[in-house]
C-alpha cells in the first residue's frame, strides 16, 4: 500500500521529469512536431516509439500487472478528434503546459481550449453519449 505522501512525491518527480524530458525532446516546438508527423524528421518519432519499446520490455521483465480495457465506442472517434487537434494546435494535454513554460504565451489559449473540451466531454456524455467506463472521466 502506497502512502499518500509517497504518491505525491512520485507525481512531483514524474511531472518534473516529464516536463524536462518532453521539452528537451522538442515536443513543444510546432515545427519539430509537424516534421515528425510528415516523416521529414523521425527523431521525435523514434523517441516515442523507442520509449514504448523499452517500456514493453521492462514491464514484461518486471511482470507488471496489466490493466483491463475494452475498445468502447468512444475510442476511435475520440482518437480522431485528438489527432486532429494535436496536428493543428501542436498540443496534447501536457504540451501546452510546457509550451507556456518555454515562453509561448498563445499556448495559454490552447490550455483554455483543453479545459473547455474536457468539461464538454463529461457534459456531453451525461446528456447524449451515455458511454459507460473508460470514457469522459468514467
Amino acid at each position: 500500500m502506497r502512502t499518500r505522501g509517497a504518491i505525491l512525491l512520485a507525481n512531483i518527480i514524474t511531472g518534473l521529469a516529464l516536463g524536462y524530458t518532453v521539452t528537451n525532446i522538442g515536443f513543444g516546438d510546432y515545427t519539430e512536431l509537424n516534421r515528425m508527423f510528415t516523416f521529414q524528421d523521425l527523431r521525435m518519432f523514434f523517441s516515442f516509439a523507442g520509449a514504448v519499446g523499452i517500456i514493453v520490455c521492462a514491464f514484461a521483465l518486471l511482470r507488471v500487472r496489466r490493466t483491463p480495457g475494452r475498445i468502447h465506442a468512444g475510442v476511435v472517434p475520440g482518437a480522431v478528434l485528438f489527432g486532429t487537434g494535436w496536428a493543428i494546435s501542436g498540443g496534447c494535454p501536457a504540451i501546452p503546459i510546457i509550451q507556456v513554460a518555454s515562453g509561448y504565451l498563445p499556448a495559454l489559449v490552447t490550455i483554455v481550449g483543453v479545459i473547455v473540451g474536457i468539461r464538454m466531454c463529461r457534459w456531453a456524455n451525461a446528456r447524449y453519449f451515455h458511454l459507460d467506463r473508460g470514457s469522459c472521466g468514467l
Binding site: R4, V22, N34, F37, G50, I88, G91, A94, C121
Partner: protein, 218 residues
Amino acid sequence: MSTYWPWWAGAVGLALVTINYTLTTDRSFGVSSAWDRVLHWRRERQLEQMDDEFTDDQALADALAAATAEHFGTAPGTPTMPPVSHGESQPLVPDVEPTAGENSSVTNTRPAPLVTQAALLVSIFLGGLIAATTSGRFRLRFDMGAGFRDLVTADPTAMIATLFVGGVLVGFGTRLAGGCSSGHGLSGCGRLRPVSIVATAVFFGTAVAVSFLLWKVI
C-alpha cells in the same frame, strides 16, 4: 540555442518516467485523466471522501476479523474482504499464485489522490521551465514559432481561434477516447492493452493525415 536531445536520450527519458511512475505508485499515469480529475475536483473530492469511508469500514472489518481469528484460533492471514475498487466491480484476487504469463494480480483501480494529480500538472510546468531556461531556449513570445506561422496561419486572430479549437478537440477527444499520448501511448501501449494500441494508432494516423494536409495542401 542548443539542439534537441537525440532520439535515444528521449526514448530512455520517457521510458524511465513511465516505468518509475508505474513502479512507485502502482498505477498508470496519464496527463489527460489528471486534467479531467482536477477540473472536476468537486465531484472527485466527493468520490474520494466516499472511498475513504469505505477504506475505514474495511479497516474496521479487518480488525474485527483479526480479533475473531485470535479468539477462535483461525489461521492468521486469512483473507477477509476483497480490495475496495473505485467505481467498478472488481474481480476477486485468487489466493493461488498466477500461472506463468498471467497477470500477477489485479490492478489498483483507485486513482491517485486529487492533490497529487494537481501536483503532477504544476510539476510538468516547472520541469518544462527548468529545461527551457537551462537550454537557453526560453523566450517570451506572442507567436507559436515559424512552423506554425508558415503551415497554419500568420494572422494573430486566426492563430488564437485555431489554438482554441485545437485545444477543445484535444480535451474532448482525449477524454472520449479515455486517454492521451501518455495514458494510451506510453502506459497503455507499454502494457500492450488492445484499446491503447488502437487509440494510439488512430490518433497518430489522424495527426499524420492532418499534418500532411497542412504541409502540402492548405
